[in-house]
């Protein structure tokens, strides 16, 4: 067991270091996240003011916190559906992954989490800092920051385990671009990327909550911005843990069922 966790810890570090080589790309991401942040915050602040200062539980401060926390997390949670696994299945490289004495899912998730953690340094934290300096971001006090950081960590892990499912579907479909596109379109909307999902009509909130996407962005921003109290925060955390378990189990089952179907040409 001790030996087992060391492998995954090393993979987290490897993912972290791999991402650290793409500095220019990180700068590009920072510019994009910040620009979108300014556009989002201008529109949503105007919306809150038009609603006499309170819209679905958001005041001016909470909306600013929502925008800058979500923009800061954007680089670290995978809402694009991009994943190496799909490509490795298509080319057959995944055979090597299956031959290694490491769980395929565990290795994938560990590497993704490492990559996400690094991304906070050049992308997430500067985005947040710029937003905080220019617009001002009042964060919640008390235990909220602690629960919030925990929620952010859960968010990037759930995003990794969910994207793994998108990749592993390749064992059946080979070409998963359609699934990835679908994931990309739906995930941003249901994660609350452009609007908090709480602005949606009730039936759409229910639909969004039935997916793992709010766990990747909406719940941590709710906790850090103080939109929910401690009880609400614990509820969000429970939902995130629930989705983590569901996506982990689903991934394990799919890998077990799918690896028997895997056919690789050549050798």
């Amino acid at each position: 067991m001790r030996h087992g966790t060391r492998v995954y810890r090393r993979l987290v570090v490897a993912g972290f270091r791999r991402q650290s080589t793409y500095r220019l790309a990180a700068l590009g991401g920072l510019v994009a996240n910040t620009t979108f942040g300014f556009l989002k915050v201008a529109l949503l602040l105007a919306a809150v003011r038009a609603a006499d200062g309170s819209l679905e539980g958001y005041d001016v401060g909470a909306v600013a916190a929502y925008v800058w926390v979500s923009q800061a997390m954007l680089g670290s949670v995978n809402l694009m559906g991009r994943n190496d696994l799909a490509e490795r299945i298509r080319t057959g490289d995944v055979v090597v992954d299956f031959l290694r004495p490491v769980d395929v899912q565990g290795a994938f998730v560990a590497t993704e989490v490492g990559r996400s953690l690094f991304t906070f340094l050049p992308r997430g934290l500067p985005t947040f800092t710029i937003g905080a300096l220019v617009v001002g971001v009042p964060l919640a006090g008390g235990v909220a920051p602690v629960l919030g950081v925990l929620s952010v960590l859960l968010a990037i892990t759930v995003s990794a385990t969910t994207v793994f499912l998108v990749g592993v579907v390749g064992l059946w479909l080979v070409e998963t671009r359609g699934v990835q596109l679908f994931y990309m379109i739906v995930s941003g909307f249901f994660a609350g990327l452009y609007l908090p999902i709480w602005f949606f009509p009730d039936w759409l909130v229910v639909a969004a909550s039935a997916t793992p996407f709010p766990s990747m962005l909406m719940y941590p921003t709710d906790i850090l911005s103080g939109r929910v109290d401690t009880t609400g925060a614990l509820g969000h955390l429970a939902a995130q843990v629930g989705w983590l378990v569901v996506t982990l189990v689903a991934g394990q089952l799919l890998v077990r069922a799918g690896r028997r179907r895997l056919e690789v040409q050549g050798g």
Partner: protein, 273 residues
């Protein structure tokens, strides 16, 4: 004259026809792409509609007015995206060295790049915004006088031209940015997002960037406030008739794009090999 035109465009037509044939032959893949493109349009519409249903109006636009802004902006963007969107692939060509092939042919580089592909699936997204446009025109109770028709036509021509310039500007910048390709997304895709917003909610820095430097406010917002007789232009310190200047903004965007493209191609040293 017409014969020489036919002859000189023949290679481009041949390439475009082959791209269209290839998309039509991979039917399943095309259907998936078209469906996802349609879904993108619907989700983007939902993002606007959900917000404006919550409040009476934002920045002087109510739901009816913003639907018109959204429709013109999104229709313009998806048409430009269909014809010019694959300029986004330039960093890959640069990395793989395949751009050098274009340099070897006796045809203008940009024209080759633009005509190297056409993404028919984007028509699905254009269809969504066209449907919204029809609905929005009905909701806003427009009278069909020369003023309305002229301004709408002007906006629907200038908008795609302006967004096309954005793609070319970004492509020119890629020669310098390489791995930093995402930087230009802030202005191309951020620009699309900005174009669907009322410019009256922006502070001065956003107004400088998306109102004038990249004239996104001129693609839909300013023509619409002029068309509907709203006070949107005076809110950002411009005269009420400023919507008529959409073609000037398109020209400005292309001047910007031409300089960027020229600097970029001059800077390029080849991919080796």
């Amino acid at each position: 004259m017409s014969r020489s035109l036919t002859a000189s465009t023949a290679p481009y037509r041949a390439v475009l026809a082959s791209r269209i044939r290839s998309q039509r032959s991979h039917r399943v893949s095309f259907r998936v792409d078209a469906l996802s493109s349609l879904l993108v349009g619907v989700v983007e519409l939902a993002e606007v509609a959900v917000l404006y249903l919550q409040v009476e109006g934002i920045g002087g636009l109510d739901l009816r007015a913003v639907l018109l802004v959204f429709a013109i902006a999104d229709l313009s963007f998806s048409l430009a995206d269909m014809a010019f969107g694959h300029c986004d692939n330039l960093p890959e060509y640069l990395r793989a060295g395949t751009l050098d092939v274009f340099y070897l042919r006796p045809q203008p580089l940009l024209l080759q790049l633009v005509t190297s592909d056409i993404q028919l699936r984007r028509l699905a997204r254009a269809a969504v915004s066209l449907a919204v446009l029809v609905v929005a025109v009905g909701l806003n109770d427009l009278s069909w006088d020369p003023h309305t028709v002229g301004l709408l036509a002007l906006a629907l021509v200038s908008g795609p031209v302006t967004f096309a310039a954005m793609f070319v500007w970004a492509a020119g910048a890629q020669f310098f940015l390489l791995d930093g390709a995402e930087t230009t997304n802030a202005f191309v895709y951020g620009g699309r997002y900005a174009a669907t917003q009322p410019a009256s909610v922006w502070g001065r820095p956003l107004l400088v960037v998306f109102g004038f430097a990249f004239p996104m406010a001129f693609t839909a917002y300013l023509p619409v406030v002029t068309l509907l007789g709203l006070d949107g232009a005076s809110r950002i310190g411009l005269p009420d008739w400023v919507g008529w200047l959409a073609p000037v903004a398109a020209l400005w965007a292309w001047a910007f794009a031409a300089v960027s493209w020229r600097l970029g191609t001059r800077h390029y040293q080849g991919g080796g090999g």
